[in-house]
């Protein structure tokens, strides 16, 4: 027989087992054997703190009263979990990259590390969670009472309030031992999480065992359950089993919102998360857990309604059904399941709340008493932090206990689950807005939170105390001061809605609208915008963005402070690692913005973002973020774009260089070929006259030409050939003199027309011989020159005779056009021949470049090379003009008196 003492004994043993599990897990974690502990399954099971005693016992009661509707409490979280790729992934990533310690920390960090928001969210969480903790105490007490009542003959009736005290005390002890034993960066509690996972298994096994017993043991299988359900529907009051659209949608949404914003859920979902793999597995495994938890709820409810005597509390069917059939073992298991549900919720919730209270309320208060102190004053920070946590845990549990005592543990408490959900859901707009909208501002979040919270309190929380509570019956019925539009449960005349849905609708609608409109109108601070960018773009960033730049700060001060908070060994190791990363020896890294940013994140894992920010700010002085710092936080995309465009520019540059190189190379190759040609050319040019000179002089020597006439002819040939030789050598000499710059120029004033006249006169013999017509517009040629006109005439002579010699048209014509363009004179020589082929255009100004040998008579191919050198010296240029009717050359030279020759004179003389 199950006696009360056995019950207490088993309970005690169970708790000891939990202690052991937590102890071993903590020990393994400290030896860094966290592989098993961070497995996705443990993570998934730890999420089951969502299923409290309210769901373990209450779901059956809920189903007995309103049928299928209980399932909405699980459908919301299911939707959130399977939609992890939308929301949870981002939330968890932000949580990890910002070292977020609680939901208050997340909101405060997002909106410029504002402690006001931290305090607000903490208050909402405490007010929303305290009744919930009271509910857990009530359920444990009630389940004890069930055993006591049923066998009251043999058992001592326990003092219910004393049970509640014992439970609360034991839970406080456990939480303090494992929740605050170590101040871990990141606030991860391996021991607690593992114990929670074990409890999750107990819960599931217990509920499923009862369910299987009910369905196949006493219910007569699925058919029997189906029949029992029909019967329950018949017996139920009108409308209880019909689906109410408003409640169905509203409660699904509410449970989804609460799943994200409940402090305990945030703790296990985000803070205790280690990697994304955990989330991926939990995305289906946790909905499966919920599915299994709710699978047997309806069968238990309908069988309980059918079999148990009328008036039995449906909330306790899970316990009373096995007891009714004298299944003591099963009842024991069910009791442990409910016990587990209650304890795991209380433990995690009190850890989460204690973190929030100590980080956002106690630490800032303590800090504010020490304004402007140096690092050594942080001596007792670690101890104070730990004490603050422990005190907060005790305080929160005490609060829950007193709430339970004051409310009397009646039916009002049972309804508190949904009320509590609706309260914490007020954080959702600020949280979701902060993650997805960069424009969400601190003022908007504060205003939205306050609005939503006030409306929730007015329409749902305060009326929940009943008519004897804060809001009287008359106010409920007629509104304050008789204003019907302000009736708490029919705001603005919207009545006919379920109170919970009504409150949820108005509080969230007004919360969102105030949040959005204030955000749109306000102007955020630089730090806020920096955080906004980091939060919203968290998935695009490979690492955290760069922090702020500080004035001179001694890293020694920082080390002293960090030691007090992180513990000496840990802080020293961390500083050493940082110094090593910077390539330094010792414990003191340079206080680069990067380092400060990392230290702040590290500390915020312990004391919360706002506090860490304030602490470092106190030591470093200026904590404001300048616009320059914001500019430094360039978006990853921006950086990528810049890098890409830089690469493109470099590539373009390289391509240009390569093209230039290949052009130069080609030219060099051609020049080399030309040089060879030059050598053979010059030997040929020299040899031809030499040969005839030699031949004719031999004839003369040998007296071969007795005829004086022939002798005279031979002598004249010899003379002509030597003249040709001399001319060739003259040209070569001329060119080399020009190329070496050792040329003397004699500038003088002359009109272009005269220079051209002289050049044409000098070439008249060739022109006549080739029968070439020259077209000129003499009126254009009046431009005055101040230059070495003899040299210029030489260029013109060369061009004209070239045209005469090389033009291959039948009716040769040469047009000479003179123009003035932008302070320079252009003289174009255009003939009507076939022109110079494209591939040769770049070579014609080189020495000995002759296009063909066909008309080679005369020059040695030095003419154009000399022209170019001359034009160079005259500060002008000569170029080939492609795309004309034939070969076309353009000579460009400066006009006017401001000739550079004047300046060149002295140096040129020196050369000579």
């Amino acid at each position: 027989m199950l006696t009360f003492n056995t019950l207490v004994g088993v309970c005690f043993l169970y708790v000891i087992m939990l202690f052991l599990v937590a102890f071993v897990a903590d020990k393994r974690a400290r030896r860094s054997k966290v592989r098993f502990l961070s497995s996705p399954m443990i993570y998934t099971l730890s999420l089951s703190v969502f299923c409290t005693a309210w769901t373990f016992y209450g779901a059956v009661g809920y189903a007995a009263r309103s049928g299928l509707e209980f399932v909405t409490i699980y459908l919301g979280p299911t939707l959130v979990m399977i939609g992890w790729w939308w929301f949870l992934r981002k939330l968890v990533r932000v949580g990890r990259s910002q070292r977020v310690t609680s939901i208050a920390d997340l909101v405060s960090s997002r909106y410029g590390k504002s402690n006001l928001l931290g305090v607000l969210v903490t208050l909402i969480a405490v007010i929303g969670t305290t009744p919930y903790i009271a509910l857990q105490l009530q359920s444990v007490t009630l389940s004890f009472a069930v055993f006591a009542r049923d066998r009251s003959a043999g058992w001592v009736i326990p003092d219910l309030e004393q049970t509640a005290i014992w439970v609360a005390g034991g839970l406080a002890l456990f939480t303090i031992l494992f929740g605050t034993r170590n101040l871990d960066v990141n606030e991860r509690h391996h021991g607690v999480v593992t114990a929670i996972a074990v409890e999750a298994v107990v819960k599931l096994v217990a509920l499923m065992a009862v369910g299987i017993f009910v369905v196949w043991g006493i219910g007569g299988g699925p058919q029997g359950i189906s029949a029992a359900m029909e019967q329950a529907i018949q017996a139920a009051p009108e409308g209880a089993w019909s689906l109410q659209g408003g409640r169905w949608v509203g409660l699904t949404f509410l449970s989804a919102a609460a799943f994200l914003t409940l402090p305990r859920m945030f703790q296990v979902l985000v803070v205790e998360n280690v990697d994304e793999r955990q989330l991926a597995t939990a995305s289906w495994a946790f909905p499966l857990y919920l599915f299994l938890m709710s699978l047997f709820v309806i069968p238990i409810a309908v069988v309980g309604l059918a079999i148990l005597p009328k008036g039995e509390n449906p909330d306790l069917f899970v316990l009373t059904l096995p007891l009714y059939f004298e299944q003591d073992g099963l009842a024991m298991l069910a009791f442990l399941g409910g016990f587990s549900s209650a304890t795991s919720m209380v433990i995690v919730a009190s850890i989460a709340l204690a973190t929030m209270v100590s980080n956002h309320i106690i630490m800032p208060l303590w800090l504010s008493t020490r304004l402007g102190v140096d690092a050594s004053e942080y001596r007792d920070a670690r101890q104070i932090l730990l004490s603050a946590r422990r005190l907060s845990i005790v305080g929160i549990l005490a609060l829950g206990y007193f709430y339970y005592r004051i409310s009397g543990g009646g039916a009002a408490l049972a309804a508190i689950g949904l009320i509590s959900f609706a309260g914490v859901a007020q954080v959702l707009p600020a949280m979701a807005g902060g993650l997805f909208w960069r424009g969400a501002s601190r003022s908007g979040a504060v205003a939205g939170l306050i609005t939503g919270f006030a409306i929730w309190a007015y329409t749902l929380f305060l009326p929940s105390f009943g008519e004897a509570g804060v809001i009287s019956a008359s106010v409920l019925a007629d509104g304050p001061w008789g204003i019907a539009a302000l009736r708490p449960q029919a705001l603005f005349g919207v009545d006919g809605l379920d109170p919970v849905v009504h409150a949820l609708f108005w509080s969230l609608i007004l919360n969102c609208s105030v949040f959005v409109s204030v955000s749109l109108l306000s102007f955020p601070s630089p730090l806020e915008r920096l955080q906004a960018a980091q939060f919203v773009n968290v998935l695009d960033q490979s690492g955290p963005a760069r922090g702020r730049s500080f004035n001179a700060a001694t890293s020694e001060d920082l080390l002293v402070m960090a030691q007090e908070i992180m513990g000496s060994d840990q802080a020293q190791a961390w500083f050493q690692a940082q110094a090593e990363q910077q390539g330094k020896q010792g414990y003191l890294p340079d206080t680069t913005p990067d380092f400060i940013g990392r230290l702040e994140r590290e500390l915020s894992g312990l004391v919360g973002t706002a506090t860490a920010h304030a602490m470092i700010g106190q030591i470093l002085g200026g904590t404001t973020v300048s616009v320059d710092d914001l500019l430094a936080v360039a978006d990853e995309t921006q950086q990528m774009l810049e890098q890409t465009s830089q690469l493109e520019a470099k590539q373009l540059e390289l391509t240009t260089t390569a093209r230039q190189l290949s052009e130069v190379n080609e030219k060099l190759t051609q020049l080399s070929i030309q040089k060879d040609a030059f050598l053979s050319q010059i030997s040929h040019e020299l040899r031809t006259p030499m040969t005839s000179i030699r031949a004719f002089s031999e004839i003369l020597r040998d007296g071969g030409a007795n005829d004086p006439e022939a002798a005279a002819r031979h002598a004249s040939i010899i003379h002509d050939e030597s003249v040709r030789l001399t001319r060739l050598l003259d040209d070569l000499l001329d060119l080399s003199v020009l190329e070496n710059g050792q040329v003397q120029l004699y500038p003088r004033r002359e009109v272009m027309r005269d220079v051209l006249d002289r050049a044409i006169a000098a070439t008249s013999s060739v022109i006549d011989q080739e029968k070439m017509h020259i077209h000129r517009n003499r009126s254009d040629e009046g431009g005055a020159l101040y230059t070495d006109t003899d040299r210029l005439a030489q260029v013109f002579i060369n061009l004209i005779s070239n045209a005469a010699k090389y033009c291959d048209a039948k009716d040769k014509r040469l047009a000479i056009r003179v123009r003035q363009r932008g302070g320079r004179l252009q003289v174009d020589f255009v003939d009507n021949g076939s022109g110079v082929p494209l591939e040769s255009q770049s070579m014609i100004f080189e020495k000995f470049s002759r296009l063909s040998d066909q008309a080679a008579a005369g020059g040695a191919g030095l003419g154009l090379a000399i022209c170019r050198e001359i034009m160079d010296k005259l500060d002008g240029s000569i170029t080939y003009l492609p795309g004309q009717s034939g070969a076309a050359f353009r000579v460009t030279l400066p006009i006017g008196t401001q000739s550079p020759f004047g300046r060149r004179w002295p140096s040129d003389i020196n050369h000579l």
């Binding site: 299911t78 289906w284 909905p287 998935l539």
Partner: protein
Amino acid sequence: MRSPREPLFLARQSYRRRRIEDAARLLPLLGVVLFLLPLMVGGVIGNVRLAYVFSSWFFLILFAMLLARHLGRDAEQQPTGAQSKPEVPTEAPTRTR
């Protein structure tokens, strides 16, 4: 001449992965639709609607499991996140100076 059977687009793996991400985004919408359907029929909840809610719930879990197997595997390989497209910041900090 190029063979017409030559695949035009070779990055099939990343393409498939992006489509799986799309499916993961759409799954909760499917869930919303499935869970809202029972409201379309009025009256008392019978066995049929009970079975419907639980079976659609179960199929959602199955789908989520299939998707999570792909996404979770890749999440480890690409810790920086395999966003299909980088989100264009709606407001660059430099612009609002």
